[in-house]
Amino acid sequence: MSAPLSRTRWSIRLVLVGVRTHLLFLAESRISIAILLGTPVVYALVGAYLYRDGGRGNDVVAVGAAAGIIGIWSAVLSNSGTAVHRQRWMGTLELMMVSPAPLLLVLAPLVLAPTVLGVGSLAVALAFTGLVFHATVPVAALLPFVLSVLVCAVAIATMGLIMAVTFVLFRNPYAVVNAIEIPVWILSGMMVPLGLLPGWAQSVAAVLPSRWGVEVVNDSVSGSPVLAATLIAIAVAVLYVLAAAFIIRYVARRARAQGSLHLA
């Protein structure tokens, strides 16, 4: 009999197995995967033609990256925001709530799995812009770009985590999902420079991890220093994780006290 895993290794294994399980679950619907991968391609196509029409053909790579980030956010939002709803509908939400593992670690794979798919959709969007518009990330800048995408993806995932833990209490999360998808595109600076937004909107954007994640990617594409934006993105993401941990304690306590988790 092998020695028991340390708590850290056990937690990591729990999350990785959960991510694999939810990825397999999401991959069951091929047409859903096609939509998930196709959405950023559509926005990359539209954005690239718009920018070329406006005389900014040199920015097609940045447009493709922005479209890919839209794909990450859409994947995280539509899947993690509604993942809890699906668990409720399948009757497994109560089992997740009473599991001995920390609830945050149980819910994290619901968010990380679509994040992985979202990063894949970004790769598809960039491959598309490379094939159709012959615009690619320079080889020398590829590693910094990949690292910037990972920072951005993690930042967006923390927003998905907040939604996943909060939507346990919502009977109809789809309404919130539809309402916040495009505002986050705008506030995060996905294809829209933040300088175009009024001051109050820029202030709201400053507390979004995605806003800083997008800046990291934009800085990487343009060759600007990425350290400052990366540190801010990580700091804001950590705050979101701490907030999620705090919220889930309240949610779990309320769910147990009211006993109405299956209804919400």
């Binding site: 619907s29 047409i31 029409d53 309404a175």
Partner: protein, 269 residues
Amino acid sequence: MSFDGTDIVRSIRMLVVGGLISYRALFQWTRPASFVASLMVMPVMQMVFFVLVGRAIGVADDTLRALGLAILGATGACIMGGTMAIANERIYGTLGPVLLSTCRRGVLWASRAVPYVVNAFAVMVFTLICARLLLGLRIPVGALVPVLVAMAAGSLSCTAFGIGIGALGLRFRNVNDVANLALMVFVVTSGAVVPPRAMPDWINTVGAFLPLTHAIRAARAAASGQAWVTFGGEILAELAVGVGYGVLALVMLRVFEARSRNGLSLDAA
């Protein structure tokens, strides 16, 4: 087969009362939160997003862009609504009784479409009002009626398209995913986001045979003061597209219903 006064009254009642009941029962976005989020916030935010993208590039005048985007914003109401109007019968287990009913099929399926035409037009008008308030969109008073007529034509044709996708729901599951794909196609082909001059010819050709393309052209032509012959022709083209998809939807509904009866099954896949 005769069609007397009683039939006319019955058909009108089917269109109005039956349509309203099916809209309330089958359209998943009638709940206030879903309605506001999906049919008010989302179209307005989409319009604002693409107008801001245009401003980032330096488009001189985003008035016509906002007008086209206001019309495009109703695709959710048309396509998802039209799809749910028929496909959700399967989900709720009422498809069999519907197909067993003795209602005239043309009236039955038309009754499903009518509420969504009205819904789509209302979404377009609301988005247009938001464009005026948020983006300063100005339409000349003399162009208001042609713009509204173009929007009505677009609502009709896009809903007919949505009903066609819903018809697939008589035989196939998961047609909502097909509807989601269609929404993405319209963003590319309608000309609302990217000017047709910037798109490849084959995309513009595809767009010419899809709903909303001609309605957007008509609205923009009217708003920019072009002759009535120009926007009138585009409105007629939009109505022709709508009639085409309406006929296609009715044929598909009839064929799929017959196959369901012959095969004694409501499922093909």
